[in-house]
């Protein structure tokens, strides 16, 4: 990406330090991450509607297409590539078991949203799960299997 304006930033992604990297000021975070080979973060709409690019920024789920790379200066980021802890392994197994992945395009965002649901420790009903994942589009599963997987995670993990 060519640009006249650039920013010099430092941040951490999945525990790895990125120091003094130069990014075009107009580049959003998802594009930057993907340019670094972290292509698990998917880009659908680039206007915050689809949720495929959802990542974790300083402990909170955010849309990486609606955050500039420059804004990540000083932040601690986690992408789907970094979901290797015990809880997220269990979540992935549950998604597999319930066939909640299918084409996989929405999965990184769905997993991120699931993580935030589990960390909130709330015992959600199926309707509430649907409301929580309303910001993540899935065009294959019809959501049923994803809700099944998240419901199982809530019951088994929390």
């Amino acid at each position: 990406m060519t640009a006249n304006n650039t920013s010099n930033i430092s941040f951490t992604v999945n525990g790895e330090k990125f120091n003094n990297v130069n990014v075009p000021s107009r580049q959003h975070l998802a594009d930057y991450l993907r340019s670094q080979g972290l292509t698990g973060t998917h880009l659908g709409c680039e206007q915050g509607a689809c949720g495929a690019c959802t990542i974790e920024m300083d402990g909170k789920a955010v849309r990486s297409c609606l955050v500039l790379a420059s804004q990540a200066n000083g932040s601690d980021l986690k992408t789907v590539e970094g979901f290797d802890d015990q809880m997220m392994e269990q979540v992935k197994q549950s998604f597999l078991k319930h066939n909640a992945f299918q084409c996989g395009f929405c999965s990184p965002g769905m997993l991120m949203t699931t993580k935030e649901i589990l960390l909130s420790k709330k015992k959600l009903t199926r309707d509430e799960i649907r409301s929580e994942i309303s910001g993540n589009y899935c065009r294959c599963t019809g959501y049923q299997s994803i809700v099944d997987a998240i419901e199982e995670c809530i019951n088994e993990i929390n």
């Binding site: 920013s7 000021s25 107009r26 909170k60 789920a61 955010v62 609606l66 804004q71 309303s134």
Partner: protein, 280 residues
């Protein structure tokens, strides 16, 4: 879907941000960016510079300030929704914020950002007008307070001067006999409304004795419907009367999802839907 080129400045304090904004009339403030960045990605606007105020500390306070509930400009929607003071003193705000986009967007989107951006389809500008809120801005000549009803001038156009930045919003504390009622119609949860209504009601028991109606997603800014509110108080709910009154009072602007006729219909039935909540 990539933004045009702009420079980026991470402001260290309010004065720093004010100084840059005062000098460059094409610079815009970046708070949470959840409405601004989509607009930039779609190239609906192309500012020269983004002044990022999100890392300035002390702008996300939520506190009681005299007869007002003060919400700092940088309080995120998620933060406001979890706040004990908001839950106790202005619970309607939590119900309203549940309708603002989705959790990941509410984690980043800010209260002041939504107020200052002035999207006519957004809930918070209409809430500010309906509750007679005060919008506090800071500029080269210090701070000043603007009545919400004088703040919204037109499509994305506000009374903020070139050198000014919104630093907080003051909502009058609700009185015992007062209720803020809210309803919107949208295609899917989290979408912008096709039409929405916030009613500020004064009641004795379940009887309404004073009422103001402010619509969003109907025109180019929050639309107050004072004549229609008066008509309701005098004659109760009569679909055709209220519809005629709204049609004369508000310039309904259709969009991709709903024509102006449909918005007029929705605006009319929203009066009934909202006031039915008083009996619930």
């Amino acid at each position: 879907m990539k933004a045009a080129d702009f420079s980026y400045h991470e402001a260290t304090n309010i004065q720093d941000a004010i100084n840059i904004k005062a000098k460059d009339e094409e610079a815009v403030i970046l708070a949470g960016g959840q409405s601004l960045l989509p607009a930039l990605n779609m190239r609906l606007s192309s500012p020269s510079c983004l002044i990022d105020i999100s890392k300035i500390s002390g702008l996300d306070d939520i506190k009681i300030d005299g007869d007002y509930l003060f919400i700092g400009a940088l309080a995120t929607h998620s933060h406001v929704m979890k706040n004990e003071l908001v839950l106790k003193r202005m619970p309607c705000l939590i119900d309203i914020l549940k309708m603002v986009a989705h959790p990941a967007i509410r984690n980043k989107g800010t209260h002041g950002g939504s107020i200052a951006y002035g999207d006519p389809a957004a809930e918070l500008p209409a809430l500010a007008v309906a509750t007679n809120a005060e919008i506090i801005v800071s500029g080269q000549n210090g701070d000043r307070s603007i009545h919400a009803k004088d703040f919204y001038l037109g499509l994305f156009e506000t009374a903020i001067n070139q050198d000014e930045i919104v630093i907080g919003i003051k909502y009058p504390l609700l009185k015992q006999e007062q209720a803020i009622l809210f309803e919107e119609v949208c295609r899917r949860h989290g979408d912008y409304a096709m039409a929405g209504l916030i009613a500020n009601v004064n009641k004795i028991g379940n009887k309404v004795n004073d009422l103001s109606l402010v619509y969003f997603a109907t025109g180019d800014k929050p639309d107050s419907a004072d004549k229609t509110a008066k008509l309701y108080l005098e004659n109760g709910y009569d679909y055709s009367n209220l519809k005629n009154s709204l049609n004369s009072e508000i310039d309904f602007a259709g969009d991709l999802n709903s024509s102006s006729e449909m918005k007029l219909h929705l605006a009319t039935i929203l009066i009934k839907k909202v006031l039915n909540k008083l009996e619930a």
